[in-house]
Amino acid sequence: MTKKSRTVLLISLAVFFVILLLALLFFRKKPARFEPELLNKADVSGATLTEFVKVKLFYFSETSIYLQPVYREIEVPEIREELYNKFIALLLAGDSGHITPVPEGVALRSLYYLKNKEMLVLDFNDRLSLSFPVGTTAELEFIYFMVDNLCYNFREIKKVKFLIGGNESKTLAGHIDLERPFYPNFNWLKNE
C-alpha cells in the first residue's frame, strides 16, 4: 500500500469514527416520558362519548425512597390548563397506602402555562409555607413529586415554577432555592 493510500485510509477511518460518534450522540436515549393514552367512553345511555386520558401518577411509600406509579383516568376538558388543574387535584388528593408529600390544607390557587418558556407556574396557598415540615428531604420530596409527575405526563411542560400566595418565595422551609424554576429529575421515579 502506497503512502498516499495509507493516508487516505487513515483519514477515512477517522471520519468514519467521527460520523459514528455523531450518530450515537444523535440517537442517544432521550429521557423517558409517558404518553397519556386517550380513551373514549360512552355514557349510560350510549348517546354521548366522553374523552378520557389515562395518566400515570407517582406517590411515595414508607418502604421505598422512590415514587411509586399508580394509573388514573381524567376526563379531558376543553382547556388544557383545566386538565393540569384536574391532574394536580388528583395528586393532592393522594392515594390510599401511599404518602402524598404535601401538608394538610395546601391547595392550588391558580396555574398558568407559559408556552414560550415551556414552563408551568403553580401558585399554592400560604398553607404550603406555614405548615411545611422543615427539612431538606421533605422540601425535595414535595418539589420533585410535583415537577416529575407533571413533566412525566405532559410533554409540553419542561419546567415548573412555584409561587406561594401569589408571590415568589425564597425557599419552602429554609433550604432549597424556590425562586428559580425546577426541571424534572426522573431519578426519583421507581420505573425510570
Binding site: V134, T137, F142, D177
Partner: protein, 384 residues
C-alpha cells in the same frame, strides 16, 4: 477497497471541507459595569481557545481563523481595558486584549445559542506584573473588595473555616416527635466542631451564629464571604414525609440551576444589545453574578462533601444516603468550597433519640472534623 476509499474521501470532503474553508464569523462587544468590564466573543459556530496572560495584556488564541472586520477595536468607557487587536497566524486567530490598568479575569464562561465566550475583567489585587510606577504615574491602591470580588483571585492554603449552624431564633427548623428542635441540635454540633478544629489545627473558625438567633440565608453567605472564609460547612438535621427515612447525607450545589442562571444572563445580555433602550440594571446583573458565586468551586465542594460523607458513614454506623446535589440557597452565594450536611433524620423517632445524646453529637462533630482535615490536606497539596 480503492472504490471504498475514494467514496469515503468524497463523502468526507462534502461534509468537512466547506466547514474548514469557512472562517469563523466573529463579533466582539464590551460593556462596563461598576466593578467589572465584560468582553464577549460571539461566533456563528463553536470554537476552542486557549488563554495566555502577559504583563499588561491577555491573549485569546482561537482554534480557527476568524473573519473579524477590524484589526483594532477600542474598548469604550472602560477604566480597565484599552483595546483589542486581532492578528492572523496561519489558520488561527489571536485576539490580544490590552489593559489600561492592572486587570485580571475574574470569571469566564461559555454560552450557547449563539455561541459566546465571555470574560469578566476586574481590577487585579496585585499589580506586580506591570512596570514599576513612576512619579507621574503613582501606583494606585486596589479598590476595596466588592461583593462579587470576595473570592481571593489566587487560592491560598486554608486558614479560615466558616461553620453555619442551620436555622435559629424563631426559625426552629425541623421538630421531632418528642419536640427536639433542629436549631438546638445544629448549634450544639457546631460548637463541638469549632472547638475540635481550633484545638487540633489552630485554624481560624468563624460561625454564622453562636447563639440562638435568627440569621437570614443571604447574611450567612455574606458573613463567610466578607470574612474571606475558604470553606463553608452548613450543619442541619433532616426531615421527611416518610417517617421511616433515616441516615446521613452531604450536599453540594447542583449545576443545573446555575446553567439556568447563565442562560438568563445571556438572555438579558442579548436584550441589552438588541435594544439600547433596555438596559441591565447594575444591581440586577450583580445579583445574578452573586447567585453564581458557587459555580467556580463545584469541584472542590464535591470533594469536600465526599470526604465528610465517608467519615460520617464510618463513624455513625447509620444508613449512607450519599453525596447529593441540590440548589441550596445558602450555598449558592458562597464563594468558596461549600457543603450542607444533613446529619440524621429528626423526623425518625430512633434518630431523634440519638440526636439527643451528647455522645452521638460528639461522633458527628468528630466525623465532620476528620472529613475537613482530609480535605485540607488534599486542597493544600494541590496548591503546592
Amino acid at each position: 477497497m480503492k472504490k471504498f476509499i475514494r467514496t469515503s474521501t468524497l463523502f468526507i470532503s462534502i461534509l468537512v471541507l466547506p466547514h474548514l474553508l469557512t472562517s469563523l464569523a466573529i463579533d466582539i462587544r464590551s460593556f462596563d459595569h461598576q466593578g467589572f468590564t465584560r468582553i464577549v466573543f460571539e461566533a456563528d459556530r463553536s470554537f476552542t481557545y486557549t488563554i495566555q496572560n502577559r504583563p499588561g495584556q491577555m491573549q485569546v488564541h482561537l482554534s480557527d481563523r476568524a473573519d473579524f472586520r477590524e484589526r483594532t477595536l477600542a474598548v469604550q468607557n472602560s477604566p480597565l481595558l484599552d483595546r483589542v487587536i486581532h492578528e492572523i497566524r496561519g489558520n488561527k486567530s489571536i485576539f490580544t486584549i490590552f489593559f489600561k490598568s492592572d486587570a485580571t479575569v475574574q470569571k469566564s464562561f461559555v454560552l450557547e445559542k449563539p455561541f459566546r465566550v465571555v470574560f469578566d475583567f476586574v481590577k487585579s489585587e496585585k499589580p506586580a506584573a506591570l512596570p514599576a510606577s513612576t512619579p507621574e504615574n503613582p501606583e494606585k491602591k486596589p479598590d476595596p473588595p466588592q461583593e462579587t470580588q470576595s473570592a481571593p483571585s489566587k487560592p491560598k492554603p486554608i486558614e479560615t473555616i466558616c461553620i453555619d449552624p442551620g436555622h435559629g431564633g424563631e426559625d426552629l427548623g425541623a421538630i421531632g416527635k418528642s419536640k427536639l428542635q433542629e436549631k438546638d441540635v445544629t448549634l450544639r454540633i457546631s460548637h463541638k466542631l469549632k472547638k475540635l478544629i481550633e484545638s487540633r489545627t489552630g485554624l481560624r473558625v468563624i460561625m454564622t451564629r453562636d447563639k440562638d438567633s435568627e440569621v437570614s440565608l443571604n447574611t450567612r453567605a455574606s458573613i463567610a464571604n466578607n470574612q474571606l472564609a475558604q470553606m463553608f460547612i452548613s450543619i442541619h438535621a433532616n426531615s421527611s414525609f416518610r417517617k421511616s427515612a433515616y441516615g446521613s447525607e452531604t450536599y453540594f450545589v447542583s449545576l443545573k440551576a446555575t446553567d439556568q442562571e447563565s442562560l438568563e444572563l445571556a438572555q438579558k445580555e442579548n436584550r441589552n444589545l438588541e435594544d439600547p433602550g433596555e438596559t441591565i440594571k447594575n444591581d440586577e446583573l450583580k445579583m445574578i453574578l452573586w447567585n453564581m458565586a458557587q459555580t467556580e468551586y463545584i469541584r472542590e465542594s464535591s470533594k469536600l462533601a465526599e470526604y465528610i460523607q465517608n467519615e460520617l458513614n464510618e463513624l455513625l454506623d447509620t444508613r449512607n444516603r450519599g453525596v447529593k446535589q441540590a440548589p441550596f440557597r445558602v450555598l449558592m452565594r458562597t464563594a468558596m468550597p461549600a457543603v450542607l450536611i444533613e446529619t440524621a433524620f429528626i423526623s425518625n423517632s430512633r434518630e431523634e433519640k440519638k440526636l439527643k445524646s451528647e455522645e452521638f453529637l460528639d461522633k458527628i462533630a468528630f466525623a465532620i472534623y476528620n472529613g475537613i482535615s482530609k480535605f485540607i490536606y488534599y486542597y493544600n497539596n494541590i496548591l503546592k
